[in-house]
């Protein structure tokens, strides 16, 4: 590998790492957090992240079951073909998202109470 290739790749690595670090740094907060569920940009439901809760969201395209427990949110069950939302790591920090593309469902952690 040539020197300029090496420099540019290190630069790109730095950009993404600094971006991720900055994201968590600026999103960090002491305020209570909530979980917002939206479908195609429309908010379907908001739950406090601190309370354990399980709910299934169903529409014509299919269903996703959201579980909030111990301060983290995750999709435990879905009938979409790829199950990417189920495989997504549980989310707990503001700005983190779980997306179910086939059902156009977005679950995200937001700052503030419901």
């Amino acid at each position: 590998m040539k020197k300029n290739e090496f420099v540019i790749i290190i630069g790109l690595l730095a950009v993404s790492l600094i971006g991720i670090a900055a994201f968590y740094f600026f999103a960090a907060t002491d305020k209570p957090l909530s979980v917002r569920v939206s479908r195609q940009g429309e908010v379907v439901a908001v739950f406090p992240l601190s309370e354990d809760h399980t709910e299934t969201f169903t529409d014509t395209s299919g269903s996703n079951t959201l579980e909030i427990s111990g301060g983290t949110a995750k999709i435990i069950e879905a009938d979409c073909p790829d199950h990417i939302c189920v495989k997504t790591h549980p989310i707990s920090n503001p700005g983190e998202t779980i997306v179910c593309l086939p059902h156009k469902l977005v679950v995200e952690v937001i700052t503030g109470e419901s």
Partner: protein, 175 residues
């Protein structure tokens, strides 16, 4: 030798190889908490095709591969996301190749292609689900795209080096 027929044969071979690679790729799940992350094996073919056939024919290779693999292995909706990624990635790689010509490094073109592939997919996803909060997700994908793009770039470079020693490409009437 009819160069048109020869080009068609090479083009078909690229589509077939890219299709096989995207099937192989679907069998290798990456053990990472980032959903939807892939190695990008078909990009080896896209790179070789770009360097030997140029971008107009490579556009055909990419679209044919995405449509075929979408219908064969994925759901219908996956085609839209793959097209978003595949086309943006091809655009970025073609522009880099055009502006840097021989001085361009296959490895860097591959890395930028991998990053723009993710960017294209995230943009399409953000439009479909109507959200703007996928930035963090993109940053994680970008971080992962750098090593995978590096791996794909090195593979494509070595493949080109070996294939250039044969007479396969000399009949294509292209450098």
């Amino acid at each position: 030798m009819h160069s048109k027929a020869y080009r068609l044969v090479i083009l078909s071979l690229y589509v077939a190889m890219a299709l096989i690679l995207s099937y192989v790729e679907s069998l290798i799940p990456l053990p990472l908490p980032i959903p939807g992350a892939k190695i990008g094996l078909p990009n080896i073919i896209t790179l070789v095709s770009l360097l030997t056939l140029g971008w107009p024919l490579t556009l055909l290779v990419v679209i044919a591969r995405i449509l075929l693999s979408g219908f064969l292995f994925g759901g219908g909706f996956s085609i839209v996301y793959s097209l978003g990624g595949g086309l943006l990635s091809l655009l970025v790689m073609s522009l880099l190749l055009y502006f840097f010509k021989d001085r361009g490094s296959i490895i860097l073109i591959s890395v930028f292609g991998a990053i723009s592939h993710n960017l294209g997919q995230v943009i399409v996803a953000a439009i479909v689900v109507q959200t703007t909060s996928l930035l963090l997700y993109f940053l994680f994908l970008m971080l992962l795209a750098i090593p995978t793009g590096l791996f794909i770039g090195i593979t494509a470079r070595e493949l080109m080096r070996l294939l250039s020693k044969t007479t396969i490409f000399s009949k294509l009437n292209r450098p």
